[in-house]
Symmetry: C2
Subunit: 446 residues, 2 copies
């Protein structure tokens, strides 16, 4: 294959003390980051110094489950709400994109359309919405429901939700606000559009009370892995977070999504696929491995067993079993399920219970020198396994400083990453087109 | 009465180009402020330079009505969403309080509890929630309803909504997050509280995924004028926005609210009543009056007639009538209604149609020198007609600069206003107590 002429797109995943589940315990990590805006400001400024495309924050509208014995061993029970955090970061940054997560399952489209349009104006065109449908069933309990909305229903609702939001974002033409002091006309009534949506899940009249966003629409992000998720991603997403850990699987996902996008009439180059990756970087490979092991050693068994139970199912009781012995006999899960894959992993590598939960907790690490990390990024990119990465920094603040100071210059030397931001908006930096207005631009599609 | 020993509390009302309905047309006003964060940042910095207590922003989850011919003559059709704007302002200020409006009629308590708790952490204790129940019936159309929720139902829902939010704010003890790197315990499970609310309008389990706010609870603000509104305000509000334009009426409202608060077992001194006031300031009274007239002259008749129709009712057709002639014969409204008061005003002062709508549009101005404004503030305050003011600046940015540079020093010289912020949090500056936790503090009331 010819070498690619485009460049890597890089996102930085925000997490209180870092992405590693036990990061907060490590001496390098700030344990009380969750309530410290200055901490996040430093991360944002560092990412911007490194010319990264965007900051990204995940979200759950509740706690990450109700197994408090395990949860209390993590820094995940409290965090800034994404839209307020990103708005605050907008005020102290100039170039970096701001990707906030919001669920379509427990929100209303008008609120979401409005908040992201407002964030886009506040940031002069740097807002993006990561569309999720909620994975944690506990969220339902905070919104008057006894049970989580079923998977298929969530995706149907999500699709309509996004269509309503995009319609509201087109409420005004870009030039609707004429603000003519002499005539006294502030906006041209002819350039105001009322959505009048009536659908299965929503009736929303509009118009939005925010002017059309600098980006036309804030960038849409999604992370669909299931069949319904991939379809939604291929239909609406401009950035897709992937979770493949091996090149062949990543290539297959990449091809599949790009083909699906093309089948929806979209230009596949305007769909950027970014797998998550966790780099553990040190001056030598041995030191990097040792650093990784330090973090792994901080995972409390209570937490490790909970990670296993979340994957295998709560029907498997591992209490009383020797952590350094094998898994007890366990019925297989559904064919192709995550449970089955994990059981197969334990069997094939003869892993103890502890080794298995450490493997799950370790995620998708790249362990080595800055050169090793740059090599990995280059290999994936040139193999068309991705268009860039969503970088999970194992700990904050140090890990992003190391990445920006050591890996970014290597990528830049190789021509794989920008020396300066290409434009003012996130769309411009990602190389994404600015959407036309469905009501007034010839050829613009809803 | 003895002179008061406390000091004025002052809020600054944020509006795009200013509070006057035609402000954006005036040469002194910035017309495109609505999309310019730097504009709001300047206002916030100026207010903070003047040691004002708080910034305040009103809200509607939709347009201010659907009479676009009139709306298009105002700068009110588009504006930043309050919570994203206030979060951004939190990042560029240090002392000033941030009062954002959010409706209980078209929101969910979990989202509201979370966003305001997040804003309180981002701002290190400067968040406040202005609780409204939505006055513009068009909002219903953006949330799947054909009609606005009825007034009484809105207030019942509001009361339960606020109780749920306060309960969620107590999800964690102040010291729940121990973050002990050695033991690996990030939070103490015993200091986590699950609300388990099941009520008429909401079922919300909790807990919140944000630590207890620096202020315990963000400050609660309300602007209840109706019977139901006054009851809610007296029960829950710590700051109350009032709308009286004469001292006797303001004194009566002040006494009434303080007595109602006492009847709910609250200390009346912890309920601060701030009427709205619009100061037009110049070096002489004549110049100030001329400045006021300049703004009034910019009100387009289409807009003026709409203001009249919004007050008198759409059954009165004024089209074709001479604007400089009297109102046509008009049936009276309900006894004590706003319609009746306006009709009585027109009759008693023999006002033309134009004079009447200008009177409505002019609001509650104090027109004069800085000395005059300081005198008015002092007179109201000493007459126990208020505890301070919510200042509506007629235009931005100049009017707040004038106020801070000329009026604030006079108030300070008279001992009526602070020389420096008393504390770090809005509560401390307002002299409000920090609420105990209903689950864990002896004597704390829900």
């Amino acid at each position: 294959m010819p070498r690619r002429t485009d460049q890597l797109k890089l996102g930085a995943f925000l997490a209180n003390s870092g992405h590693h589940v036990a990061a907060w315990r490590h001496p390098l990590a700030q344990a009380d980051a969750s309530q410290d805006f200055e901490h996040f400001k430093h991360i944002a400024e560092t990412a911007e110094r490194g010319k990264l495309d965007a900051l990204f924050i995940a979200d759950v509208v509740g706690l990450w489950g109700h197994h408090y014995d395990a949860l209390s061993r993590t820094a995940r029970a409290e965090h800034f709400e994404p839209l307020t955090l990103m708005a605050a970061l907008a005020a102290v940054t100039e170039h970096i994109g701001l990707i906030a997560t919001a669920t379509t399952t427990y929100n209303e489209p008008y609120h979401i359309a409005r908040k992201f349009a407002s964030l886009d104006h506040l940031s002069k065109g740097r807002a993006a919405w990561n569309v999720v449908t909620s994975v944690v069933s506990d969220e339902a309990w905070n919104f008057g429901r006894e049970q989580h909305v079923e998977h298929g229903d969530r995706y149907q609702r999500a699709e309509e939700f996004v269509e309503v939001v995009k319609g509201l974002w087109d409420s005004w033409d870009d030039d609707a606000f004429v603000r003519d002091k002499d005539s006294g006309v502030y906006f041209d009534v002819q350039r105001l559009h009322t959505l009048n949506h009536r659908g299965e899940h929503f009736s929303v009249r509009g118009p939005l009370n925010v002017a059309r966003a600098p980006q036309g629409h804030p960038v849409l992000v999604q992370a669909g892995a299931s069949e319904a998720g991939r379809t939604l991603a291929a239909r609406i997403a401009e950035v897709i977070f992937a979770s493949s850990s091996e090149v062949p699987a990543a290539q297959a996902f990449y091809r599949d999504i790009k083909q699906r996008a093309a089948a929806f009439g979209r230009d596949p180059d305007t769909v950027k696929i970014l797998p998550g990756v966790t780099p553990f970087i040190a001056d030598t490979r041995e030191q990097a491995q040792a650093l990784f092991e330090e973090f792994q050693a901080l995972i409390d068994p209570v937490l490790g067993l909970r990670l296993l139970a979340d994957t295998l199912g709560d029907d498997i009781d591992l209490s009383g079993h020797d952590l350094d012995g094998p898994l007890p006999p366990t019925p297989a899960g559904q064919r192709g399920s995550r449970r089955d894959k994990v059981l197969e992993l334990a069997r094939s590598e003869n892993l103890s219970i502890r080794q298995l939960y450490l493997r799950l907790a370790g995620g998708n690490p790249v362990i080595g020198t800055a050169e090793d990390v740059a090599d990995t990024f280059e290999a994936w990119f040139e193999a068309r396994a991705c268009d860039g990465f969503n970088v999970f920094f194992p700990y904050f603040p140090g890990a992003i400083d190391t990445f920006v100071d050591q890996v970014i210059p290597l990528l830049q030397q190789r021509g794989l990453f920008r020396l300066n931001y290409e434009g003012q908006t996130l769309r411009e930096n990602l190389g994404l087109p600015r959407p036309g207005n469905r009501f007034s631009d010839v050829g613009a599609r809803p």
